[in-house]
């Protein structure tokens, strides 16, 4: 087991490094730089003044040099300062990371609470009307755009019923965005649960368990659920990554002050240090969660431990 963990940690570190380098290169392919973006609203700098600004920001250096400098800084823990506000990038990110995480985890919780039972019900009623109904809900969940669902929830629960605020922070404000994310991603979990359970329920050991005369709920909850969990946990990492990505839009709809909105703003402003900082944090959190899930996977499935 320690060997698996060590290997996973190393892979994770290398992945993050690769992302930093790639992001550093790709960012320069996006047309428009921070100085152009700055000039877009008020035209009051001469081309010479703009060139001066570029050179002070180091934007006139070759791309490889800018990337190498950035990687060296990040390795030493320095994420730089934003170009627009001249604030430390790490500080801005750290301030918002908890918000983003809380929302992602709340969304995931809602998705699990709705998705797993739905998948369970569908698997048990395989081929029947209930199955079809559940899977239709699942397809609907995948198909409905998050921002639209968010706006509908705002209309009903904030504008009309006044139950929750339209925008803001705090526990009352998190309910609608968490519901939106949860409803959008529960479908994925429901499908996964269903297919995992359907497969397991046809296994010989389930037949054996039933033949032994075990009660049905024991068969389902003990013998079928645990192996099914392995598949669900696997997909969880994927869902989390989707969630972090999808959350950028939901944060915008609900004015949730997470790193996603910071990133959108930074991209419009071409604030390179901020964009790179976001990519590093975003990639790292997805990599870390995937790694944790891999490790959890090993704990859940004894066969994995034996393999190594």
């Amino acid at each position: 087991m320690p060997a698996i963990i060590a290997k996973r940690v190393l892979t994770a570190l290398l992945t993050v490094l690769a992302v930093i380098v790639l992001a550093g290169i790709l960012i320069h392919f996006v047309p428009g730089d921070p100085v152009t973006a700055m000039m877009a609203q008020s035209v009051s700098a001469t081309p010479e003044a703009m060139a001066e600004m570029r050179s002070r920001l180091g934007l006139d250096l070759p791309v490889w040099e800018q990337v190498v400098r950035y990687v060296l800084d990040v390795v030493q823990g320095d994420f730089g300062r934003t170009i627009r506000g001249n604030e430390p990038v790490a500080h801005l990110l750290l301030l918002r990371l908890p918000n983003t995480f809380i929302l992602a985890v709340s969304g995931l919780a809602v998705a699990l609470v709705i998705g797993v039972p739905l998948g369970f019900v569908a698997a048990l009623n395989r081929g029947r009307a209930t199955d079809a109904a559940v899977m239709m809900i699942a397809v609907l969940g995948v198909s409905v755009p998050g921002f639209w669902l968010g706006l509908v929830l705002i209309k009903i629960f904030a504008t009309d019923l006044h139950w929750f605020p339209v925008a803001g922070s705090g526990w009352r404000a998190i309910i609608l965005p968490a519901m939106t994310l949860g409803l959008c991603y529960c479908a994925l979990i429901a499908r996964m649960t269903r297919s995992a359970l359907v497969e397991i329920l046809s296994e010989d050991y389930i037949r054996a368990a039933r033949a032994k005369g075990l009660r049905e709920h024991e068969v389902l909850l003990v013998h079928a659920l645990r192996p099914a969990l392995i598949s669900i946990v696997t997909v969880l990492g994927l869902v989390f990554a989707y969630l972090m990505g999808g959350q950028v839009i939901i944060e915008n709809v609900f004015s949730w002050n997470g790193i996603g909105r910071l990133a959108i703003q930074a991209m419009l402003e071409r604030d390179y240090p901020m964009i790179q900082g976001f990519i590093v944090v975003f990639a790292s959190s997805v990599v870390v969660v995937t790694m944790l899930i891999d490790i959890l996977y090993g704990l859940l499935d004894p066969r994995m431990r034996k393999k190594s």
Partner: protein, 540 residues
């Protein structure tokens, strides 16, 4: 007894409740739920009345400030924040006239190279210190320092030296700079107090009507009234401290959510969506504000080095096809006006009547005839790109424009880019001479017609400079003042319009609308869409 105990258990030891009889538990849960719902309902009503409280105001905008440092800020949203916190040396009336600000008086030397500003006595910074000539000098110097990375550095002018002398600040220029005093009134020229830069991190400490209480980036800027404020701005009636105590500039990125927050009473003033602003205007429960003093101008321009757009007749024909009244009425829901000059109305020296004589007029038939003479018909059209960037109202305008052009035999292929990418692309495109010709649109804003200089003095903004003759006019106007400068600016406008290098379309064009509930009184939009809260009162 049992009843009381149940309450205790309910609140403190829920694990023991299990041993109680069922009826008690249900009563307990019911009571708990009732209390919770009451608390929730109360919470809800607090949110609603909170917005109505006389001394607080919540404003929802789409985007947060990028900086509250007036020497670094570039976006309208940032400058709206800095203009509440910082004052300017001079101020501007609605007619473009210059008035005192932090400076009670100013003098210009005979040669136009030395400006002496008298700093008003008794101005207090938000930290209690006095704003004096030394502070003003320090603020000048910081704005001009290349390490500040001030995006407006060129607009401050060719300043050679600054000096504090008693209560005077003496500014020496290396050459005459006519726009100097008007620039000093603009929200891009806020004056900071020395405490702002005392530490490594910038702190927004100014002399303006509001102090910064807190700023959570991308969430809210909280401003509190400055009790020591004495107003100089001619656009403000209230002579002293703002009537309201607190202003919160909240960020709600989604237009639909912003409007929902206004309707739910969570916020008092919002940046509305264009579509909803038109509806709100009909609704007596709301007010819609449009910035008359935006200083914004929307233009169409050409890649004039690429044939056949190097021919002024073709450019004129394209200008004549553009139905700007339709753009204003349909695309912009009648919330903007058409404009005739290359510079926004109300700015120094700008005369809409004269511009109307010089520029082209909507006349699709005549335009069609010119194009036909040049060999282009709707059947064999001139193919151009219509290069644009995304903004509310502009998208619809470009669609109507595309139809307008098609009618005279110009087939325009709309290419939309996001703003930074667009200006980057235009910088490349304007240098080329051998690609598909393009018509493009842009907007610009300022408090002085000198922005013509930044746009068209070669190489010009995104390389849109034109020729020696125009360079000379634009450079000369900077060295003049008063009537002579106004004449020179008009000469530049005339040259651009008669040769159809630009087709003026509308004013204003972006971020210019605000809406509030009807109970808000005295809210105003100032120059360059600054938000003026000094006169705001909330009625019941």
């Amino acid at each position: 007894m049992g009843h009381e105990k149940a309450t205790d258990l309910c609140g403190l030891k829920p694990d023991i409740v299990v041993t109680k009889e069922k009826g008690n538990i249900m009563a307990c849960i019911n009571r708990y739920l009732k209390t919770t719902f009451r608390a929730l309902a109360l919470g809800g009503s607090i949110v609603i009345t909170g917005a109505a409280a006389a001394s607080e105001l919540t404003v929802a905008r789409a985007v947060d400030a990028d900086s509250l440092d007036p020497h670094k800020a570039s976006t309208t949203q940032s400058l709206q924040g800095t203009s509440a916190i910082f004052d300017t040396l001079l101020t501007m009336g609605a007619d473009g006239s210059i008035h005192p600000g932090l400076a009670s008086a100013w003098e210009v030397s005979q040669d136009g190279l030395t400006y002496t500003f008298t700093i008003r006595d008794g101005i207090k910074c938000h930290d209690g210190t006095t704003f004096d000539a030394a502070a003003a000098k320090a603020s000048f110097d910081r704005a001009l320092d290349p390490t500040t990375l001030n995006p407006n550095v060129s607009a401050w002018g060719p300043i050679k030296s600054t000096e504090a002398n008693g209560n005077h600040v003496v500014v020496k220029l290396s050459e005459r700079y006519g726009p100097f005093t008007s620039f000093l009134t603009s929200i891009q020229a806020g004056f900071i107090c020395p405490a702002s830069v005392a530490d490594k991190e910038f702190k927004p400490i100014g002399t303006g009507p509001f102090k910064l209480e807190s700023w959570v980036r991308n969430d809210r800027i909280v401003l509190t009234a400055n009790d020591a404020y004495v107003n100089q701005n001619p656009l403000v009636e209230n002579p002293g401290r703002p009537y309201i105590d607190k202003v919160t500039l909240k960020v709600i990125p989604e237009a639909v959510a912003r409007m929902a927050a206004l309707r739910a009473g969570e916020v008092d003033i919002v940046e509305p969506s264009l579509e909803e602003a038109a509806d709100l205007k009909q609704d007596s429960a709301y007010k819609v504000y449009s910035a008359d003093l935006s200083g914004q101008q929307v233009l169409a321009a050409f890649t004039g080095r690429i044939p056949p757009l190097d021919n002024p007749e073709i450019r004129k024909a394209i200008g004549m096809a553009m139905n700007k009244q339709a753009y204003a009425d349909i695309a912009f829901e009648g919330l903007v006006s058409t404009a005739n000059c290359t510079v926004a109305p109300n700015l120094f020296g700008i005369d809409q009547g004269l511009c109307a004589k010089w520029g082209v007029h909507y006349d699709p038939e005549a335009a069609k005839a010119i194009m036909a003479k040049a060999g282009y018909t709707p059947e064999h059209p001139l193919k151009v790109d219509l290069l644009v960037h995304k903004l509310p109202g502009w998208d619809q305008m470009h669609q109507i424009m595309q139809q307008d052009l098609a009618a005279i035999g110009v087939e325009a292929d709309i290419q939309t880019r996001e703003v930074a990418a667009f200006f980057d692309f235009m910088t490349q495109t304007n240098l080329k001479t051998d690609i598909k010709p393009a018509v493009w649109t842009m907007g610009m804003s300022g408090v002085d017609p000198d922005y013509m200089y930044f746009l068209w003095k070669r190489p010009g903004f995104v390389n849109m400079g034109i020729n020696e003759q125009l360079d000379q006019i634009l450079t000369e106007q900077r060295a003049l003042t008063g009537e002579a400068r106004a004449k020179k600016i008009q000469e530049g406008d005339r040259y651009l319009l008669e040769n159809a290098y630009a087709v003026p379309l509308l004013s204003p064009g972006w971020n210019w609308l605000m809406a509030s509930s009807a109970k808000i009184e005295g809210f105003k939009l100032g120059w360059m869409v600054s938000l003026i809260f000094n006169d705001v009162r909330v009625s019941d």
